[in-house]
């Protein structure tokens, strides 16, 4: 599986987890859900950056699938 796919999945899965936490105890989302989301997006960023770096080294300088 591509690292960018894993990255997007992490954010969405954490989103669903946060909603479940919110249903149980909304105040708990302040401590866990929202800060966790920022952490999830930071992890996603590093995964995507790593994927781009690997693509660059594989293709000889031209990295990252242009969308």
């Amino acid at each position: 599986m591509k690292k960018s796919t894993i990255a997007a999945a992490i954010i969405v899965v954490w989103g669903i987890a946060s909603v479940l936490i919110g249903i149980k105890d909304p105040i708990l989302v302040l401590y866990t859900g929202f800060p966790g989301w920022i952490a999830a997006t930071v992890i996603a960023y590093f995964l995507c950056a790593q994927e781009e770096k690997e693509e660059k080294s594989r293709t000889g300088g031209k990295g990252g699938t242009v969308k």
Partner: protein
């Protein structure tokens, strides 16, 4: 005095932004979509401020004050929505818009579905009708918020702020709009820092939570999901779904059209900055709920909770910066949607420009004229109606509009329909939404979900019929 000085300096600086970006605007492409060269970082910073807007400063804390924690749910749905936009949707819209050479939401739907003036007219008129209400609400909000800061009447404050916004938007186009959005994010960070300081100075989240529970436990553990739905579980799940189709709003779509080439790393940057901004808002909501224990007495208008807290607890400089933050938030809502709406309405006149053989410079001039006309209608409406914040109007109108256009926008990337499919989807779902609203049937989220389902169903059914009747249809 200090807030007034900060406000005046900021308003003058905004005019400078317009002047700086004026030189780069030569064509409609420059004006409406910044040459389609926005980077994911810039877009993420701007998008975050534009999407949270005035609701984050005023409406959401006000709703927290009035109803308690259900407002948290309205922001929890954002992040998966933003991730889906960044990784899947925005790059596809960008690519297709570049292929089609379109500079507006209207142009995108029309060209993607194979043209047609009827479709152009419907989308442009629906967008214009929905957004003029937004402009009026924004201008009234500026008048109400800035009248005490500037020490002038409601009408004078509204006119001063309105003139500044139209001048820099006319000069710099989307580049000026995006730049001012990013400046707005700076003020949002200052507000966030102040809110955190305030919570900590009151003993932290735990201590404030205990005081709220002592005051009224139902604020943190409400029996229903009011004002959004019958149950808390229902609204958390509804908002998760809602924010996926909410991203089809014309002025958000306008941002995707303006995006330059991107990669997955770009999508991750976009998600990161947008998420970091959105995640500040729940702390504003918590502060709004805490208004019950932080402020004496009961507020008549819940939307005043954040200004009241800042006026009571922050020093004059911070209060001044908060006021500018509110101004910036209203402004980002106004300028971005004004530009996107102008681009849509401009499409109505394109055949006329072509017929008259207008040059690119003349077309650009006409575009700016349309922007002034839309602005003038909103100003006259706002000046002649009573002062009010009307924050809810911004959000309610947008949710409805995003539901109505969901068929030909979201579904287009799943399986494209035809032009009459798109036309019927917008028209029928709009009629359904208006009937539900006028008759007061269902809650507003439920109304939006019904309109969404109708839009999607009609899009595919009408497209299938059109293909059957005319096999050459797209």
């Amino acid at each position: 005095m200090i807030p007034k000085v900060i406000a005046i300096v900021y308003l003058i600086a905004l005019l400078g932004v317009g002047l700086v970006y004026r030189k780069g605007v030569k064509t409609r492409l420059d004006y409406y979509v910044a040459g389609r060269k926005l980077t994911p970082l810039v877009l993420g910073l701007s998008f975050a401020t534009a999407v949270t807007g005035v609701w984050s400063y005023i409406g959401a804390p006000g709703s927290g004050y009035a109803y308690g924690v259900p407002e948290f749910a309205s922001f929890a749905g954002w992040i998966p929505g933003v991730a889906i936009v960044a990784f899947i949707w925005a790059p596809r819209v960008r690519k297709k818009a570049a292929e089609l050479g379109t500079t507006s939401f209207t142009g995108f739907i029309r060209d993607a579905h194979g043209g047609g003036y009827a479709l152009t007219a419907l989308i442009s008129i629906v967008t214009m009708a929905a957004y003029v209400l937004t402009f009026v609400a924004a201008l009234k909000g500026l008048g109400v918020m800035f009248s005490p800061v500037l020490g002038v009447s409601y009408v004078t404050a509204l006119l001063i702020c309105g003139v500044v916004i139209i001048v820099y938007s006319l000069m710099g186009g989307l580049r000026a709009v995006v730049f001012t959005d990013i400046v707005g994010l700076g003020f949002m960070i200052i507000t966030f820092g102040t809110v955190i300081w305030l919570i900590l100075s009151q003993g932290g989240i735990g201590a404030v939570t205990a005081r709220i529970n002592e005051f009224n436990p139902e604020l943190l553990h409400p029996p229903t999901g009011a004002p959004y739905g019958a149950t808390m579980a229902g609204i958390w799940i509804s908002f998760l779904v809602l924010y996926v189709f909410y991203q089809a709003l014309p002025h958000y779509w306008h941002y995707y059209i303006s995006l330059g080439e991107t990669t997955n790393k770009g999508a991750a940057i976009f998600t990161l900055v947008a998420t970091a901004s959105v995640c500040m808002v729940p702390f504003f909501i918590f502060t709004g709920i805490a208004g019950h224990v932080l402020l004496p007495g009961v507020l008549e208008d819940p939307d005043t909770v954040m200004p009241m807290i800042f006026q009571t607890y922050a020093n004059p400089v911070i209060f001044g910066l908060f006021s500018i933050g509110v101004f910036t938030a209203i402004m980002t809502t106004f300028d971005g949607s004004l530009l996107a709406t102008t681009a849509c309405v401009d499409e109505l006149f394109l055949p006329l420009y072509e017929k008259r053989g207008q040059t690119e410079a003349q077309k650009l001039r006409w575009g700016r004229t349309i922007m002034v006309a839309l602005w003038a209608v909103a100003v006259i409406w706002a000046v002649t109606s009573p002062p009010a914040l009307m924050v809810k109007l911004l959000v309610l109108g947008w949710v409805g509009l995003s539901a109505v256009v969901a068929g030909p926008t979201l579904c287009y990337f799943i399986k494209p329909g035809t032009k009459w499919g798109a036309f019927s989807a917008i028209l029928v779902s709009l009629i359904v939404l208006v009937v539900l609203s006028v008759r007061g049937l269902l809650g507003w989220i439920e109304q939006a979900f019904v309109a969404l389902a109708v839009s999607i169903a009609v899009y595919y059914i009408a497209s299938a019929i059109e293909r059957k009747v005319s096999p050459s249809s797209q």
